[in-house]
Subunit: 228 residues, 2 copies
């Protein structure tokens, strides 16, 4: 960053933030896409995103996008990569700071642009605008990686959930099958869940659990690993 030049002496690319919004419907992992209304790629599905404003951080920009698309505030987002290949946007030099968001699909109300937004199963995504196919692939990979170390999956479930739902989520993300009983034990042993008291329970209803945030912070620091 040297020489005696001013910032304006250097050419500047345009900067956008795009957001891969993941949700879980109880069976499959889904992603929220929007249909582009303008050129280029008009009519093509794309990741929600927009230009970075000069007075906001990229994270604030991603959260703003998220609010506009899903109506959610304060959801979990994570920056995972910045895409910079020249030519990735036909309009000119554009770099994209990409985030993924984990949202409770049940709480998504749909925001201003909701008319053109739609959930797609991750294994049934249409061709996307720009290099968004690649961005989505990288996001999925990073999510899979992260879930081995941090129990981020909880961000995708309702506040209260059954172990069976939790297992289905992990199986959907990691594309594996777990033994039901071992999965139960593993979760119990982690002490990451708090059982919800549902009063005089009519039996054979599955227990409801809540996520234990305190324990989460502990495990995040000590390291933590889920089986494959």
């Amino acid at each position: 960053m040297e020489k005696k030049k001013k910032l304006s002496d250097y050419p500047r690319p345009s900067v956008t933030t795009d957001c891969v919004i993941f949700g879980f419907d109880g069976t499959k992992l889904k992603v929220l896409l929007v249909e582009r209304g303008v050129e280029p790629f008009k009519g093509t599905w794309a990741l929600p995103g927009g230009f970075l404003r000069m007075d906001e951080s990229a994270e604030q920009g991603a959260l703003r996008e998220l609010q506009e698309e899903t109506g959610l505030e304060g959801a979990y987002i994570k920056q995972f990569h910045t895409f910079t290949t020249p030519g990735r946007d036909p309009r000119g030099r554009v770099i994209t700071i990409a985030y993924y968001a984990l949202v409770r699909i049940q709480e998504v109300v749909g925001g201003d642009d909701a008319a053109s937004a739609e959930w797609f199963a991750l294994d049934d995504v249409p061709a996307l605008a720009f290099d968004h196919d690649q961005i989505l692939r990288v996001a999925s990979r990073e999510l899979r990686r992260q879930i081995h170390f941090e129990p981020v999956g909880f961000e995708l479930l309702p506040k209260q959930f059954t172990i069976k739902e939790l297992q289905a989520l992990y199986e959907a993300i990691l594309d594996v099958k777990f033994d039901r009983r071992n999965f139960y034990k593993k979760m119990q042993h982690l002490e990451l869940l708090t059982q919800v008291d549902t009063g005089p329970t009519t039996r054979n209803q599955p227990f409801l659990f809540e996520f234990n945030a305190t324990k989460y912070d502990e495990l995040k620091h000590k390291g933590f690993r889920l089986e494959f």
Copy 2:
């Protein structure tokens, strides 16, 4: 990215790539810093970096920086975060795509700017320009995280090395101590190393090993974990 505007209608930040260059001297993990020759932060140590050119990807920019600073080509680099907080650069709105590089410190010859470049032990780094302290912290954390999953440590060692050196490296990065004998066994069991034939060996010289790239790709896919 909508509306009927052109790219030039949106304000654009300046974009730099900064590179956290890690090296290992056999005992401590080190990082290469440069002393700034111009304002702002003239005379302060900083991460090597520079403005992104319009015809190169961020990765190419980082590799270019690396070549200029260390004389190395084709070294291992990894993008780990993009820093965007408004105000992080007093000159105006600047976002930085940050990479870390793992280099063999022995092979670093020092490039054009080498006069002002110096290696610092990671636990003895001076105050840095801009938010480079934070960038360095994040880089160290990401390196520690990554090394649990991928045997990237080999990028920091000479082509041939002893198990003892390898262990010292891991201990330096993770800030732990391993039992020498267990570490040997672990490495043997992973089959990640190829023993170098040093002819009729004068005994009690430690064996030399090379990194086995084939096995690496295998493990990278299957998942892989080192003890803490």
